[in-house]
Chain length 365, copies 2
Amino acid sequence: MTDRLYVTYEYFGTGPQEVADFIRVEQSIEFPFDLAPTWIQNEVVGKIESITEIGEGLHQICISYLAGNTGGELPQLLNVLWGNVSLVPNVRLVDVVLPESITRSFKGPRFGIQGLRKHFGASERPLLTTALKPMGSSSETLAEMARTLALAGFDLIKDDHSLANQPWSKWRERVEMVSRAVNEANDVTGKQCAYAPSLNLPFDQLHEAARMAKSLGAGSLLVLPGITGFDSMRTLSEDDSIGLPIQAHPALLGSYVSSPKNGISHGILFGLLARLAGADITIFPNTGGRFSFTPEQCEEIREKAQRPLDEIKPIWVAPAGGMTLEKIPEMLKAYGKDCALLIGGALSRGDLASNASAMVRAVEA
Amino acid sequence: MTDRLYVTYEYFGTGPQEVADFIRVEQSIEFPFDLAPTWIQNEVVGKIESITEIGEGLHQICISYLAGNTGGELPQLLNVLWGNVSLVPNVRLVDVVLPESITRSFKGPRFGIQGLRKHFGASERPLLTTALKPMGSSSETLAEMARTLALAGFDLIKDDHSLANQPWSKWRERVEMVSRAVNEANDVTGKQCAYAPSLNLPFDQLHEAARMAKSLGAGSLLVLPGITGFDSMRTLSEDDSIGLPIQAHPALLGSYVSSPKNGISHGILFGLLARLAGADITIFPNTGGRFSFTPEQCEEIREKAQRPLDEIKPIWVAPAGGMTLEKIPEMLKAYGKDCALLIGGALSRGDLASNASAMVRAVEA
């Protein structure tokens, strides 16, 4: 009866009824409606729940689908939500309400907000995170950079998302050297700074690399679901032999949000889907940085990342992209304390150690 | 010296020089340019090769990157081409020229055009392909449908891309029953009709499922790179213990092409990238079907899928989406004979067996 998911699309154009009829068939049976058996027409094809005009030539179309259409699996859930309709211009996926039968199929983030507060001994404050850059640096250089940042008191230090297996710093060597430097710094500080190597690696190496990273002393993982797939992140998150906090990076996902009349809303993509797929921290470009998200789009991400969702834990937001020390008060005002402050390149302007300490002091204050 | 990849973006707006400078840094070091060591500025950061005005407020920006920036791996190649710049509005990726050092890193499609001509005994003609639908049908029903289609003489019969593990037809049961029906039909016809189960499955089951499909008698695979990742397709294609022809389905990829000022060009996405990632057949919505690709966009896909690319084989194009028997002559005129004719739901209007035979006769004529 209520075992359905409710999916809301915005449609820009004329004939919303025809478009709604198209979507409910395309996203389920993808077959001429009149040729389908009656029970399939009634049960398996999506149902139009409402069509509401919300602006000139702009309608919200809500369609519900039987939970069974997803088979309880994330790849097919993505397909039901957006598979073929992604190919239709002027339609945007803007909201998704999942039944408990679906949320129960997912473990969701392993740590979430409370889990990482405990993990990093950060009972009240935001998390302090940064990245190792630039590409071209040797593993030794990146390891010393990581040591400095860990000594300054950062919680999380990730690889720049584009560090992979470049000739200047191979993945395994980097993970080994940086993990060691960070753990040596932890011995000094008594803190739990975690290094997150980037897992933008070949499909068939992903889980093995994650386990190796853990065995080499890495304390977290950076995953790029736009490249390796949302379900790669889910399996990395759910794998008890790994069990590390996961940060999701938005690489390649921009095309889903860069056109206002197409794609997937910021909240659904970086909030709901990242969370359902097991990210403990969702990284996205903050408003006012190098990219172009609006304050409302960022708030939508925060809301979808943190609002109640059955047993699925709320997660940290990490607004990033050209952030500076000066912007910290503004970021805390916008996002509250359940925010992972991610400042990268700006820390290297001047002396890294003093900038890093200044950031830690600013947040602790 | 020439070991660089050349990437062309279209930019809609003012200040193309600033945008070009932004992209070349963002897609490489993602770090303040002035703070990077000189050799990294000179070598690792992308170089602006040209900025050309091609329309009012529209520029083509060509940037080259050192091949080493990709580490010779597909996930990082995607990241170099489109990772963070995907988040910048009004920029579109329109061309990619790869050096041999990169194309050599990929095996490309296992069969390609000539391989499948030999495989299916189709020395001159287009391939005949179709899909099992609608969702909600039992495995028995789908198997009988497949038997009819195989007896009629189809080369390839794929799962509808949205068939996964729904309650009405579980994946393993379906693969077993449909494979058996198709192989029994092959015993009658003496042909090599291949069933392609959809591999839109959980990340950690993909390779095992592909091997199981093969052992159950499936002769091909349907992969959804927009959901499971382009590199999942590459590894499935390169895995010698699988060794089956691969069809790539465009689910979820539409958001990369649906906005004219954002995303990735049709040719790069469905032509070059699908091919590099090992698809033998690239499925996309034909012009004039249920979707909205233009004839020029479809031709661009064909061109990128089939033009010479070092040792990487050319592949079949499968223009689909609401295609009918009547459109076959037009499709052959547009795409030539290296085309996999994919007709789905329309075959079920009236008698499936007669429609299927009519299609086979039409193509053989």
